[in-house]
């Protein structure tokens, strides 16, 4: 198995550009249309005109990067995306695409750093996470090859950059110049798009929605019953431990917190379930917590994944 897993190139940038001139906007739409038709030279010409008129137009520069990528001009595409990361460091998409380009050249460490930047700006950015996983796997494979002196040929040459033709939305809507991570990945599915790209809404199937709610209720019940084993069983092996703490430490702390009070009552108030494009479920609810020493409530967001037919928590957040 030497073929690199397909890295996902983000093909749209959901940018609310505050300086859209009517002329430029029309030209952008034209360029985007030509791009989708596969007329890359035509698209490039149009987009260059847009950029000349408005050099800070991030959306146009992003499209230029995509066009150059399609034209198999990685060095030029890298330049475009790099300058975007410099001018708009809060946007994860240019970092992601930069990473894909680096990976296609076998520069996995650079790819890793770019993806980590994308995730730093937007911790819930699913595509960057997936791509990072692939880059780690590829780097691991390289290290193993060196460990065992396996000659698998030039890995970089075998790298095939996969463009996503079926354009889909990025998972976040970056605010204007806002460095704040977007805390609600669930919102992405219905984010308004300013581009011509159709956003496929994720419709949660009823059965799944029920199963997710059942899991959340079960989790609250296990907690209320002070059944630490049951409670911890609701957390996936891939659960993102807050603060990057070791799982074992976190579990020990949780056990302690669960066992200490004589009595606990945890309630799940007005839960709302939504699904992300990759199938993850996001549940927002009002968490009530009452023990012999404490009585609080607050907004909580749980993100769950389906592992072997069981919904388990991979992320937990107090809002």
């Amino acid at each position: 198995m030497t073929r690199i897993p397909l890295l996902r190139l983000v093909a749209t940038l959901l940018l609310i550009s505050q300086m859209q001139l009517g002329f430029a906007a029309n030209s952008y739409e034209d360029a985007s249309k030509l791009f989708k038709q596969g007329n890359y030279p035509g698209a490039l010409e149009k987009i260059e005109a847009v950029i000349t008129a408005n050099p800070r137009d991030a959306r146009a520069r992003f499209l230029k990067g995509l066009i150059l990528t399609e034209q198999n001009k990685p060095a030029e595409a890298i330049k475009v995306f790099t300058s975007l990361t410099e001018d708009y460091p809060e946007l994860p998409e240019p970092y992601n695409n930069l990473a894909v380009l680096y990976a296609s050249q076998g520069q996995y460490d650079k790819a890793r750093k770019s993806l980590e930047m994308a995730i730093r700006t937007h911790p819930s950015y699913a595509i960057a996470h997936e791509n990072l996983g692939d880059v780690y796997a590829k780097m691991a494979s390289e290290a193993y090859d060196k460990a065992l002196q396996l000659d698998r040929g030039n890995a970089a040459a075998q790298t095939k950059l996969a463009m996503i033709k079926d354009l889909f939305s990025g998972s976040v809507v970056p605010g204007k110049g806002s460095p704040e991570p977007i805390a609600e990945p669930g919102g992405a599915a219905t984010a308004p798009s300013t581009s011509t790209v159709p956003v496929k809404p994720a419709v949660p199937p009823k059965a799944d929605s029920d199963a997710v709610l059942a899991a959340v209720n079960g989790w609250a019940k296990a907690w209320s019953h002070k059944n630490a084993d049951d409670y911890l069983g609701y957390y996936a092996p891939s659960f993102q431990v807050p603060g990057g703490e070791a799982r074992a430490n976190w579990e020990a702390t949780r056990r302690d917190r669960i066992m200490k009070p004589k009595q606990i009552e945890v309630t799940v108030g007005s839960p709302k379930v939504s699904f992300e494009a990759d199938g993850r479920a996001v549940v927002k609810f009002r968490q009530g917590y009452k023990s012999d020493t404490l009585d609080t409530s607050g907004a909580k967001t749980l993100t769950l994944v389906k592992n072997n037919e069981r919904w388990q928590i991979i992320q937990e957040r107090m809002n």
Binding site: M1, P5, A126, H129, E130, L132, G133, D134, Y136, A137, M139, A140, S141, E142, A143, Y144, D145, K146, A147, L148, Q149, L150, R152, A236, P237, S238, F239, Q240, V241, G244, E245, A246, R247, A248, N249, W250, I314
Partner: protein, 408 residues
């Protein structure tokens, strides 16, 4: 593609795998997860960094572990074990892994070898040599002998001791690989390393060595007199380096040679005296108080002096009682050889024997045996000579007796 997150869970299992790997081969109690090691010995830099990375993994300090591994690889990109651990650290971010070494390709044997190396290097880092103990074997070194080497196969370690004139003093130790099938070489091609007392006999010219032997090769005196009498064969047991494409080899990797990494071999070679430096190969070194070594040395010295004195006395019966009934000399058994000695001694008007530059080395293993190597000045009414003599003394019925004797 389920690979998405740093997985806290997988870190945990990696740790458990590591501990399992270590525990499986550990011959002494040691736990990686409970406490930091008492005192991480100052190991050679690359090895020390690798060990720190492994210990960090045990403590779930993955970022630090990754940094250490990258530091190792920046200096020695051909350190295969470090590459393997790097692969694990990366893979652990994409899925749960349970042990050291999870490549999708490569042979099971290769991965097993690298796991063994991880275990050996961890154990080396954990071994604390008590400063007041010495190996039991170095009873006495002659003044000209500057250093002696003692190999402990269970610790994959070659210790270097300096002859201080009053005893042996620890200088350095190096990770080594030995034969694929371990110790106790018997036959040609059995891929084993001999147990015993040997010397560095020569140095092979670098320009005639293939890359496989690294930066140098020093043949040892296997098979020695004791090996030959027991019918042990094979040859070509060398101390040598590593090929360019690897920093080190697994603990059991050679055809019987003792393999060091090139850096270590270079340091060691400066200390070797061609034709003399003793190399004692043991399964597991017996560390004892210097007093015990002194007692053994005194005991043996008395026996040797008594043998010398009785030879000068020309009292053949007294002289012969220093020889074992198992004695063998150039194919003559004890009684054949005794008859010959009686004849020779009877013809002498006088005999003078002087011994000097005495080397006394205890043989590793169960049998009580020592190798005495010395300069012998022999003068008599009709013959004189000077030779390097080697005797193998064994302890029978609480008495040291000579089992083998010949030119050293």
């Amino acid at each position: 593609m389920s690979a998405r997150y740093y997985q806290a869970g997988s870190r945990q299992t990696l740790l458990q795998g590591l501990v399992a790997v270590v525990a499986a081969g550990a011959t002494y109690a040691w736990s990686m997860s409970i406490t930091p090691p008492p005192a991480l010995r100052e190991l050679k830099s690359s090895e020390a960094m690798l060990v720190r990375a492994l210990l960090d993994i045990g403590d779930s300090k993955f970022t630090s572990a990754f940094d250490h591994i990258n530091n190792v690889l920046a200096v020695n990109p051909n350190f295969r074990l470090a590459q393997l651990v790097k692969g694990d650290l990366l893979l652990a971010r994409t899925r749960a892994i349970n042990s050291i070494g999870n490549p999708s390709g490569g042979s099971v044997e290769q991965v097993a070898g690298l796991r063994d190396e991880a275990r050996a290097r961890l154990m080396r880092s954990q071994f604390e040599r008590s400063a007041d103990l010495v190996p039991r074997y170095l009873l006495q070194l002659p003044q000209y002998e500057k250093f002696a080497l003692v190999l402990d196969s269970t610790k994959s370690t070659l210790f270097v001791f300096e002859n201080t004139g009053t005893g042996a003093s620890y200088v350095a130790d190096y990770y080594v690989s030995i034969g694929k099938n371990g110790l106790e070489k018997l036959r040609e091609g059995d891929k084993r390393t001999p147990i015993g007392v040997y010397n560095v006999v020569s140095q092979l010219p670098k320009e005639r060595l293939s890359d496989f032997y690294g930066t140098g090769a020093y043949p040892l005196s296997y098979p020695n007199e004791w090996d030959r009498i027991r019918g042990r064969d094979g040859h070509g047991i060398w101390l040598h380096g590593t090929p360019r494409d690897t920093y080190s080899r697994p603990p059991r990797a050679s055809d019987g040679c003792i393999v060091l990494n090139n850096e270590d071999l270079e340091k060691l070679s400066a200390k070797l005296q061609i034709g003399s430096t003793p190399v004692i190969i043991a399964d597991s070194i017996e560390w004892v108080k210097p007093d015990e070594v002194a007692t053994l040395r005194a005991d043996l010295a008395v026996a040797i002096e008594s043998w010398r004195h009785d030879w000068e006395s020309r009292n053949t019966d007294s002289y012969l009682r220093h020889y074992s009934k198992q004695f063998n000399s150039n194919g003559l058994n004890f009684s054949q050889w005794a008859a010959q000695k009686r004849q020779v001694n009877a013809a002498k008007g006088w005999i003078k024997v002087q011994v000097s530059d005495m080397s006394l080395l205890l043989y590793p293993g169960k049998q009580q045996m020592a190798v005495a190597t010395f300069a012998q000045d022999y003068a008599s009414s009709n013959l004189s000579n000077r030779m390097l003599k080697r005797q193998y003394w064994i302890r029978e019925d609480n008495t040291w007796r000579i089992l083998l004797e010949g030119a050293g």
